[in-house]
């Protein structure tokens, strides 16, 4: 590779569109003769619809049609092979209400105002109304599922001199991307075009085509810009089905934008978890056993396993271990993945427990972690592909000034406030989804990379441009990146922090194939420098085709070759195989990090603030350090919210998510932001791809809440095991 674009902190290539308002998000698209839909939800969480009176709404000005169970037409559950969906029951499928806000009708009108006004006039009579089950205490409904076991953890626990047995709780959280979920649906009598807020266009097409019972190839999903998702936009939700069904019935485009309030009801949330952690150790800190038993809530119809123990089996060494999960049903909409599903709530529990064990042992928490550093993944019994967790811990300690910490509770004061210092490890999966890409080299000197993935704000547009620029030597501003359309070769889902690592092999292979095609073409053009040369004597360097044969040396711009040959383009296809879901992985693929936090506590006015966070991340090679750093910083900000503010409250009487707006559901604002210091270790993980890049979308969140909880304990002496850390818990 001639140039050095990979690893450079390029500004986002789509950035000029975003800062000028020119980037078109789903609800920004419009189509001629579009109608506006507003969905009507139930106002109970447990019961049945006895009658739906739409007559008043039907007479409202501008109303085109009102859809409900009686007239929406056939909608089907997708088969398991179709792909992922969290709420598999099609909307309006029966009269049973299982959660507050469950859609019962859809008003379609000429304008948004007309539809909204009419929706308010729909009368729902309920029957068999019962108290909703939104009980906070979680006990598994069935036998727990064992996801990992080794040794005899119970016996080792009983025989150990030091042990802790603690239960940690993380609340239901709502993703709350600022972009509202939306759908703009169009049916031409044969095929659907669906503009969707989705992190996974291919899965969306595959699942929705079965729900609508149309051939897969007759559904096109378009998503050029996503106003973020954090997991909430991974899989299809019921509003999209309704918009598509209405568009088919009406024969005109239908736009549906979910309200902020409805986003607390119908498009998923991070499940509530209750996790019992039992740990035991020798007096020197050697971990003798670890049991991590989690329960999470699920909706009434669909299974949901949060997998809180995702990181538990491999993170630290211990001969005796048990990880289990169980679910219990509640009258809530289906939970779904939220940034760092499983590991994020799971590590809050296990890393908090580690801090408590360190205190019990009288050992520094950094030293305790270093002491139990494993030399291989003890659950899979395979080597780590690339693990530098110990360096994250030591470098983080150094950058933070951890050696200056005095251990006694409340013993550190500065400028009249009490400081608390805490730390945590973090980890997240690495690997690849399957991916396919096409790269074209054009006669105008540009290149185009086409791949059916998404840029959800993580920087995928820019990374794709960098990969092609690096390989071809074509300037980044001459590279067109095309994504977000199911007409493109199928790319990876934007989930699991896996897009960058997945696209690298596919895009590099496609780029090289296109360059090879250009070299071959060069030898076929009459009266040009390379006529009758062997392609083996040619190479593609910095956008030029260069030939060296004996003492002869010639070069020509690649696009000149295309022009001389009268071709518009040459192209190549590349494919990457998945590692995710491999039955017998050869390596344990994960990223690691350490996070150190300082909080300031003023008991006189009950003010708690996160002052600063030092983070060291071992996630392989960064393709673009600027966008990567933004991912980690943004995750830390979300972690401040997770630790201190965020929880969705379900009203025990109605089952309604009661703080269903951005004033009552608190997310971190600019003023809550700590000073952040992020360092990336530079250990390329070539077991994942040839550039050694893993992913950074989720790991930055994984240690924040436990580090803050530990810092709060250090400042106040109060160990908060149920998030969030509300002020009243400290008084």
């Amino acid at each position: 590779m001639a140039t050095k674009i990979v690893g450079e902190s390029l500004a986002r290539v789509e950035g000029p569109l975003k800062v000028t308002g020119a980037a078109a998000y789903t609800a920004d698209h419009t189509l001629a003769n579009v109608a506006y839909a507003v969905a009507v939800g139930s106002t109970i969480a447990n019961g049945r619809i006895a009658a739906l009176n739409i007559s008043k709404a039907r007479e409202m000005p501008g109303v085109i049609e009102i859809y409900h169970r009686g007239n929406v037409g056939a909608l089907y559950k997708p088969s398991p092979e179709a792909g992922a969906i969290d709420e598999a029951r099609p909307p309006f499928a029966d009269d049973v209400i299982r959660y507050y806000g469950q859609y019962v009708a859809l008003v379609v009108a000429e304008t948004f105002e007309d539809a909204t006004a009419a929706a308010a006039l729909i009368e729902i009579a309920y029957a068999d109304v019962a108290a909703p089950n939104v009980e906070l205490e979680l006990v598994g409904d069935d036998q727990p599922i064992e996801s990992s076991r080794r040794g005899d953890p119970a016996a080792a626990y009983d025989a150990s001199p030091v042990k802790i047995d603690r239960t940690y709780v993380t609340p239901a959280e709502t993703h709350n991307p600022i972009e509202l979920h939306a759908s703009l649906a169009f049916y031409d009598g044969d095929a659907f075009t669906l503009y969707e807020t989705t992190q996974a266009i291919a899965n969306h097409r595959n699942v929705v085509s079965e729900i609508l019972d149309v051939p897969r190839e007759n559904v096109r999903i378009v998503m050029k810009f996503l106003g973020s998702g954090f997991g909430g936009k991974l899989w299809p939700w019921t509003h999209g089905t309704l918009a598509a069904a209405a568009a088919r019935k009406l024969g005109r485009p239908v736009k549906l934008v979910v309200t902020r309030k409805q986003m607390f009801q119908t498009v998923g949330h991070r499940t509530r978890t209750q996790q019992r952690v039992r740990m035991s150790a020798q007096r020197d800190g050697t971990l003798t056993s670890l049991r991590h038993e989690a329960v999470n809530h699920a909706s009434m119809l669909d299974d949901y396993d949060e997998n809180c123990g995702e990181a538990t089996p491999y993170f630290y060494g211990t001969p005796n271990l048990l990880v289990t999960s169980a679910q219990t049903r509640r009258n809530v909409g289906s939970p779904t993945a939220m940034r760092g599903p499983g590991a994020v709530p799971g590590l809050f529990a296990t890393e908090s427990a580690y801090d408590e064990l360190a205190i019990e042992l009288g050992i520094d928490p950094v030293q305790l972690r270093l002491h139990n550093e494993p030399d291989r993944d003890q659950s899979l019994d395979v080597p780590f592909s690339s693990r530098h967790y110990a360096e994250c811990l030591t470098l983080g300690s150094e950058k933070f000034g951890w050696s200056q910490r005095s251990t006694a509770v409340g013993s550190m004061r500065k400028d009249g406030v009490t400081l608390g210092w805490g730390m945590s490890g973090c980890s997240w999966i690495a690997g690849r989804f399957a991916a396919e890409a096409r790269v074209e080299l054009h006669a105008d000197g540009s290149a185009r990379v086409a791949i059916g993935t998404q840029d959800i704000g993580t920087g995928t547009y820019t990374v794709l441009a960098q990969l092609v620029a690096e390989t071809t030597g074509i300037a980044v501003d001459r590279i067109v990146v095309e994504l977000g359309d199911t007409r493109l070769p199928p790319g990876p889902t934007s989930g699991g922090s896996l897009v960058t690592s997945s696209v690298i092999p596919a895009v590099l292979e496609a780029t090289r194939a296109a360059m090879k095609s250009a070299l071959g073409l060069a030898t076929t053009v009459p009266k040009q420098p390379f006529e009758d040369w062997s392609p083996d004597d040619l190479s593609f360097e910095s956008g030029k085709i260069v030939g060296r044969k004996g003492s002869r040396s010639e070069q020509i711009d690649f696009h000149q070759v295309l022009r001389n040959a009268s071709v518009a383009m040459v192209s190549g296809i590349g494919k990457a195989a998945r590692t995710v879901g491999e039955e017998h992985p050869k390596y344990s693929l994960h990223s690691y990090g350490a996070q150190f936090v300082e909080v300031a506590w003023q008991p006189e006015i009950a003010r708690l603030r996160v002052n600063r966070v030092v983070t060291v991340i071992d996630a392989g090679r960064m393709i673009n350090p600027r966008t990567a750093r933004n991912q980690i910083e943004g995750a830390i900000v979300m972690g401040v919210g997770m630790a201190l503010f965020e929880q969705t409250h379900y009203d025990p009487r109605s089952g309604a998510p009661i703080n269903s707006n951005l004033a009552d559901y608190i997310v971190a604002t600019n003023a809550d932001t700590p000073q952040m210091d992020v360092t990336f270790l530079d250990y390329p993980d070539t077991k994942v791809n040839e550039l050694g890049a893993r992913g950074v979308g989720e790991i930055g969140l994984a240690g924040v809440a436990s580090a803050i909880a530990s810092a709060v304990y250090h400042a106040t002496g109060v160990r908060v095991r149920t998030l969030p850390i509300e002020i009243e818990k400290l008084l």
């Binding site: 000029p16 000028t20 419009t30």
Partner: protein, 163 residues
């Protein structure tokens, strides 16, 4: 004749958007936000909550930043309204837009037009000099991606350049 006129509920309103005089017949229930987006096609201004809680719909009305979801279009007779589309173009960015790009003051970009309209307004507001002051003045604009540190850096770079 529009459907609204047929219904007899349309209200006439005239205001200026990005320097351009506009005369509209609007539904009296239509917010300024929805009118900008649906009637005028100015979709750079975003809807994030429709309750004045997130700041994604921030525009300037008579030079002051406001949440455009919190007023009706019909209330803006004679107003001068400026949106993100009037600020700069991809080829000719306003200094705040250029700074957001350079400092990576966004990820998904959805809240960004609102952030930028707030930031431009902040330049002429009595906001203190420190980063904390800027963070406070920008806290009506929620960025769920959490690009706050970079947003403050972007704004401060423009303020420092202006002296």
């Amino acid at each position: 004749m529009s459907i609204l006129e047929l219904r007899g509920s349309a209200v006439k309103v005239a205001f200026t958007v990005n320097g351009r005089p506009v005369e509209l017949e609007v539904d009296p229930r239509a917010t300024l936000l929805d009118t900008l987006r649906d009637a005028l096609g100015l979709t750079g201004t975003k809807k994030g909550c429709d309750h004045g809680q997130c700041g994604a719909c921030t525009v300037h009305v008579d030079g002051r930043r406001v949440n455009s979801c919190l007023s009706f279009a019909a209330m803006h007779e004679g107003s001068t309204i400026d949106t993100i589309e009037g600020l700069g173009t991809p080829e000719n960015l306003h200094p705040i837009q250029a700074a957001f790009l350079e400092r990576d003051g966004f990820q998904c970009g959805y809240c960004t037009p609102g952030q930028i309209m707030s930031a431009v307004a902040l330049l002429t507001e009595p906001c203190g000099q420190s980063d904390a002051d800027v963070a406070e003045c920008m806290s009506g604009n929620v960025c769920r991606c959490g690009a706050y540190q970079n947003i403050v850096a972007a704004i401060q770079s423009v303020r420092k350049a202006r002296g």
